[in-house]
Symmetry: C2
């Protein structure tokens, strides 16, 4: 999560509906494995500190951190301490995260000693650790959230669908934010440390793969204005503060910009992901289930950023009626035309070293 | 907070109604000041790690941690990093804590650089840090919560009012828990580190100072059984898992027991606190306000531990009707006889060093 005050739906809802984010992680694992082979282990009695930049409620961190623990244990004695710090917005549901850590069989705290879990509630566009404390940084499907909304589009909720003058504002904000993120990590990482970033991305033509679902959502919001559910000014404010960087935009500050020499881009790749829910649908043929899951997934990350723009005079009941109407219609639209909700998100994966 | 699954009322309720805990802290400050003068500062680029064992929602930690930051800054360069880790149960409301840290003018993050705040959701009856990482430990009004409920009393909700055979079970659990707490801290503290504990306490006769309010609460619960609100088996299960140790019980493991030589009891004191709400009442003479505040204070810490014992077949509405009835009657009882709710809690303060 970025620096604005949007957080994912709490009380485990995000945990339950973040399969795509989970699937994206698998593409980051080869770089993570390489990072874990290369990373310098701290000497004396310092712990190996891992930072999870944008953990949300933690479900998608369990498997990754279990790998980290296993690989560090392979290289160092079993008593070597590992401290894992999950970073997200102050309002993030950290209790769900800690309860999962204590109770889930998938928890990286299971069947191991000397591993300690912490959280910090702050933005990853700021400093989160003292200088040179972090051995390994990990950030998955979080860096596309900008620190703020630099502009709104009267006709769409997503920067990737905006005309050039609006799109440029998002590009510029994304450039600043990425440089800011890297600058803080350059301080926090130890010499010999590694950072792996798995981030929502776009190709050179600007295609990011989520266009179908964003268009469905946008069309239905416009319907809700016409049908009197939403006010025009509310819709006008609705814009998701995300931006999908191209591989060139990810590389720029590391290769030509201010981070050059301070951080080293060791490897970079981009993949187009199959839609895991669409694949399930293809196997099971259950259109209702596909529509429900795709809608719940959309809701888990979009509800806070869209509906915080409702006017302040709305009662909680009234707001919740609008929100239910919106996701109900999205679900119906997907049932009527499932192909229109099929996404093939692009992600960039980066392996970065602190020399 | 201890090791059982009870947490203080969330969403800032505990923050708003914990004046007594806040007042208790002031008695711990002289020992804290001494600890901050004596504690060894880490060398090289290691941060000064502070552990706040039992932070709840953080309000009562702000002032203490601001003092810690100021004193460490006095002894070390302004860039010397300080990491403060707030410890409480996984279900604790950590978002309230992080939001307070970001937004409150009393936050120790204000107007200072190089201070980092974290949380961990776990029990302080377990290991929370790698060996030798903590320079300063602080625990205030938390250690009287036991790791589990060792027994119940059919006639009372508080161990201090129980017959000897039940009271002995609590003494024994308290002895085990305190030794367990200290053993883990002995590992976590750095050589030269300090631990300050401010804990609910009793004198040699077993007087702990909260008797009046506990008796009011117990009498009203018995009324609710007679009046058909509560079932007898629900009341029978209700017992607050706390124990107020005598100064001798606090000292025992450090002076004669297993911790002798590993931790050093540098100083110890006991005080009987005036009731801050009673003092306000004395000045303002507002009996309604006194009753409301005393009831809200009681509720903030007692609601979870008493009413989690309601039968599972109760609907949320039904449970909440019982709870409202209980605190409503407590409030009324205090209005009718305010003196019966006047408490003079005893607290023990300990300054412990790791040699």
């Amino acid at each position: 999560m970025g620096g604005n005050e949007i957080v994912m739906g709490g009380h485990g809802f995000y945990n339950a509906h973040s399969q795509l984010q989970h699937s994206a992680i698998s593409y980051g694992l080869p770089f993570l494995q390489r990072a874990l082979t290369e990373v310098a282990l701290p000497t004396s009695d310092r712990p190996f500190v891992v930072a999870d930049y944008g953990s949300s409620e933690g479900r998608n961190s369990m498997e990754v951190m279990a790998i980290v623990v296993r690989e560090v244990r392979r290289r160092a004695p079993a008593t070597f301490p590992i401290s894992i710090v999950h970073v997200d917005q102050p309002a993030n549901d950290f209790s769900s995260l800690f309860m999962l850590l204590q109770s889930s069989p998938a928890s990286y705290l299971c069947e191991t000693q000397g591993v300690f879990a912490y959280a910090t509630g702050g933005t990853f566009y700021g400093r989160l650790f003292p200088d040179g404390q972090v051995s390994l940084g990990w950030s998955s499907i979080a860096i596309h959230w900008l620190s703020r909304l630099p502009a709104t589009d009267p006709d769409h909720i997503a920067s990737g669908h905006s005309p050039p003058h609006i799109f440029a504002r998002f590009s510029e904000q994304a450039r600043e934010d990425w440089e800011c993120f890297l600058t803080h990590r350059a301080h926090e990482l130890r010499t010999g440390g590694r950072l792996v970033v798995v981030g929502g991305s776009a190709d050179a033509q600007g295609t990011y793969g989520g266009e179908p679902l964003y268009d469905v959502a946008n069309r239905i919001l416009q319907q809700l204005v016409r049908d009197g559910y939403l006010r025009a000014q509310e819709y006008a404010r609705m814009m998701v503060p995300t931006y999908h960087r191209t591989p060139e935009e990810f590389a720029e500050p590391l290769q030509q910009g201010t981070l050059r020499g301070r951080l080293l881009l060791e490897a970079q790749s981009q993949v187009t992901m199959p839609d895991p829910l669409w694949e399930q649908f293809g196997k099971a043929g259950d259109i209702q289930s596909f529509a429900s899951k795709q809608t719940a997934w959309l809701r888990a990350w979009s509800e806070p950023s869209l509906f915080r723009h409702l006017d302040a005079d709305r009662s909680p009941d009234n707001s919740s009626r609008i929100i239910e109407e919106f996701y109900g219609r999205v679900r119906l639209a997907i049932v009527q035309d499932p192909l229109a909700a099929r996404c093939n998100w692009k992600i960039s994966i980066l392996l970065i070293a602190k020399p």
